[in-house]
């Protein structure tokens, strides 16, 4: 920073640790369920918006079930990688509430653009949880139909999906599908590290000036692989939105109720033609970045322990117990369902067939191509030249 700006450097340096600590007792943090399981009736966002949820007991139990299942299936996938059955896995451990809360806030017609970690959102969209495992096992390209489930393919390139989402959202406007209660909206998922990418900032600009019906959903899990948040930003991420001209809000990403409320409101504003907004879901990645990463090399155990106390599932369980919404029988039944589904998932993964090499020619063009047909024919002849070929 230039010498002529004496205050700037020190001010921003001091600001950074404050924003890190901001998780607890941060007035800007929207929270409806404390880590101890205490329900807060309503919370006010930085722009005065009041957030509240009104769930039935059944719905509360449903959210708990989602959280437990998503965590269990994710743990099974991690184990499968360790056992050599997947090439790689990006665990969502610790981010279940951010994903289930926002995923359940989506309406059927809304379109989601995930990163490679949105297994929880994928689950909420009704997609078979085995789908991403095929991708990471290397036997298919992901498998689900993005148009059928309104859930785009996993995007590995950091932040690229925010531009795809912006374009899609601009298309919604062009199609005239905003402005009513049953209008459409899109949501783009990304992480704190992605906010440093040009793509994400370009998406902010385009979505803003074209008033795109889009929710930027940033799961701030505090680390871009090994780089901590203070290497990404000197201001709380949600405040960046102001510079681009749309509202930003920070929500407790470990609070499934608040995440739901904030996302629902942002999506509804978007579908009504109110333009984009940024949600910073303040959370923590309890596991490694991916199975190729060792987080103990760059973060200390006490930090992990502090976040352990804010676990997204434990607080819902505490709430359900205190409010007598669920009993021990329910919790046991959910655990058993999770165990059963994870075993089922494992069995199916191990049986996933290796794809025929010739299928690499599929899905290149929607209507085929003569050049590709030629290559396919040639390749098929080559494969047929081997003994025992079934072609």
């Amino acid at each position: 920073m230039a010498k002529g700006d004496p205050g700037g450097t020190t001010r921003s340096r001091r600001a950074a640790p404050r924003s890190r600590k901001g998780a607890a007792g941060d007035p800007a943090l929207v929270q409806l369920l404390t880590p101890e399981g205490e329900r807060i009736d309503s919370a006010t966002g930085p722009d005065g918006t009041e957030y509240r949820v009104d769930f039935t007991d059944e719905e509360y139990r449903g959210l708990y079930r989602d959280l437990v299942l998503v965590r269990k299936l994710d743990a099974e996938a991690t184990a499968l990688q360790r056992q050599g059955e997947l090439g790689l896995w990006a665990s969502l451990l610790g981010q279940e509430a951010a994903q289930v809360g926002s995923g359940r806030a989506l309406r059927t017609q809304d379109m989601a653009f995930p990163t490679y970690r949105e297994h929880g959102v994928l689950y909420c969209r009704g997609i078979d949880p085995i789908m991403p495992l095929g991708l990471f096992r290397g036997v298919d390209q992901g498998g689900w139909d993005p148009n059928e489930f309104k859930f785009n393919m996993y995007t590995i390139v950091i932040g690229a999906q925010t531009l795809h989402a912006t374009g899609y959202a601009m298309g919604i406007t062009i199609d005239g599908k905003t402005g009513t209660d049953d209008g459409e909206a899109a949501i783009a998922y990304f992480g704190d590290g992605a906010t440093s990418q040009g793509d994400v900032n370009e998406a902010f600009v385009w979505a803003s000036v074209f008033n795109a019906p889009l929710v930027f959903f940033c799961q701030n899990n505090q680390y871009a692989i090994s780089e901590p948040l203070e290497r990404q930003t000197r201001v709380p991420l949600y405040q960046r939105a102001a510079g681009f001209g749309f509202p930003g809000v920070r929500v407790d990403g470990n609070d499934v109720l608040a995440t739901y409320a904030v996302t629902r409101t942002a999506l509804d504003n978007a579908r009504l033609g109110q333009g984009p907004s940024l949600i910073e879901a303040y959370t923590y990645r309890m596991g490694a970045h991916t199975t190729s990463d060792d987080p103990t090399r760059y973060r200390i155990a006490s930090e992990v322990e502090a976040w352990q106390a804010k676990d997204p599932i434990a607080r819902v369980k505490a709430f359900l117990e205190k409010q007598k919404i669920a009993d021990a029988g329910f919790f046991a039944e959910v655990d058993e369902q999770a165990r059963r589904e994870s075993v089922h998932l494992r069995e199916r993964v191990l049986e996933m067939p290796n794809p025929e090499p010739v299928t690499m020619f599929d899905n290149v063009y929607p209507n085929g191509s003569p050049l590709l047909d030629e290559q396919r024919a040639k390749f098929s002849r080559y494969m047929e030249s081997f003994e025992g070929s079934v072609h």
Binding site: E76, A79, Q81, R82, Q83, G84, E85, G87, L88, G138, A288, T291, S292, D293, D294, T296, R297, V343, R346, P366, N367, G368, P370, D373, E374, A377, K378, F379, R381, Y382, E384, S385, F386, E387, G388, S389
Partner: protein, 498 residues
Amino acid sequence: MSRIKTFNLPDLGEGLTEGEILAWLVKVGDIIELNQPIVEVETAKAAVEIPAKWAGQVQAIHHPEGTTVEVGTPIIAIDTDPGAGPLDAPSTTATPSGDLPTPSAASLAAVEVAPAEGMVEPGLIGGAAPGGRTAVLVGYGPRTTAAKRRPRKGAVPAQAATAPAAAPAGVDHGVVVGDKPAATSTIPAPQVHDRRGEASGRATGGVLAKPPVRKLAKDLGVDLGTLTGSGPLGSITREDVQQAASGASVVVAEPIAVTSAPSFGTDREQRIPVKGVRKLTAENMSRSAFTAPHVTEFLTVDVTRAMKALDRLRGRREWRDVRVSPLLLVAKAVLLAVQRHPMVNSTWAGDEIVVKEYVNLGIAAATERGLIVPNVKDAGRLSLRELADALTDLVQTAKSGRTSPAAMSGGTLTITNVGVFGVDTGTPILPPGESAILAFGAVREMPWVHKGKVKVRQVTTLGLSFDHRIIDGELGSKFLRDVGDFLTDPEAALLAWT
């Protein structure tokens, strides 16, 4: 399936080749559950616990703590059904490949044997890249055993084994038997595409046409949906669009040239896209015509004496190889007149007038590409001989279509030689940025009053357009008069002016 399962060390982190066993969390005889942590392994990337892949009883641990193990080698054996009684002998020696079907001896004989260690091509999966690094993205790391590829159909074992050059035939030519290509009857004939037929089946997403063709169609007002494409896959080509635009029912093989007779279709109109030189000319002319207030004056002069002077010039030895045209004299006349009236060679620049000490003399030239106006740089400094050479060069370059953009920019004053088309004169439009342009008409034999009598003389008409913002009628008239005087009697003018 054997009840004894052997677990091989997997690649724990995208391309690792080995791991060190830090600690065993189970021992032989332990009953373990699925996903129970069994061993802690440190790789180049991370120290991780590996969960058990099967429930059962630990049968054997193959490597002690502290050893470094290559990816893909067995580290633990688990009895998945310990309650089923004692194991029979063969099972205890089960190897990781025990589950694989045993290849028949015949097929093994024809197997393409993997090259020996160190002979694998660098960069191939399983092969060592330069520097010893192994290129593996995911999976079990580099292959440590010989490849067992399925044999090729109809391959002759002995030949295949002894003639490795024939075996690794590429994808291109497929089957190789000995040194002869396999009977072609087993290979489907190369597919001949019925392009149009295929297109109709394929083109569900609309009309096929490249973006420039779509643009052309849009510019010409042609609806692509009404056309039948003649290109690959039934795509619509530029020619299809042009044909449709002209309404022609026959194929126009050549692109429509400006000079060729247009072929008119049933609607008796031809549409020519405005582009290139035509577009530029139109823009320049419109801009000039509607920004610079033009005045045009005419002067008819007797150039008989000048034509004779040209003949004398041609007769001189040192001018023998030089192309000497009336244009040369007109150019010289203009350059000399500019010296006497510098304001004519100027530019209107809004709040000031830029008068130039140099003359970049533009010559309007009709070429196949259309009208272009290259200029002779600093023509005022050239001798007559140099000017003649420069004009010849300029005209030839323009006719061959090789005129550079630089040669067409920076003109300060222009001559347009409309006489070559057999007309007398015109009211030329100023090139943008210039203040005067002289039209030089045809030189004709005409009855002319010469020394008090009507005689047949060679006569031409000059037309001068000028920018009235800079040049008043008086200045314009004097300039035109001087040009005319020079052409009437060049020698006398030269003597008088220089």
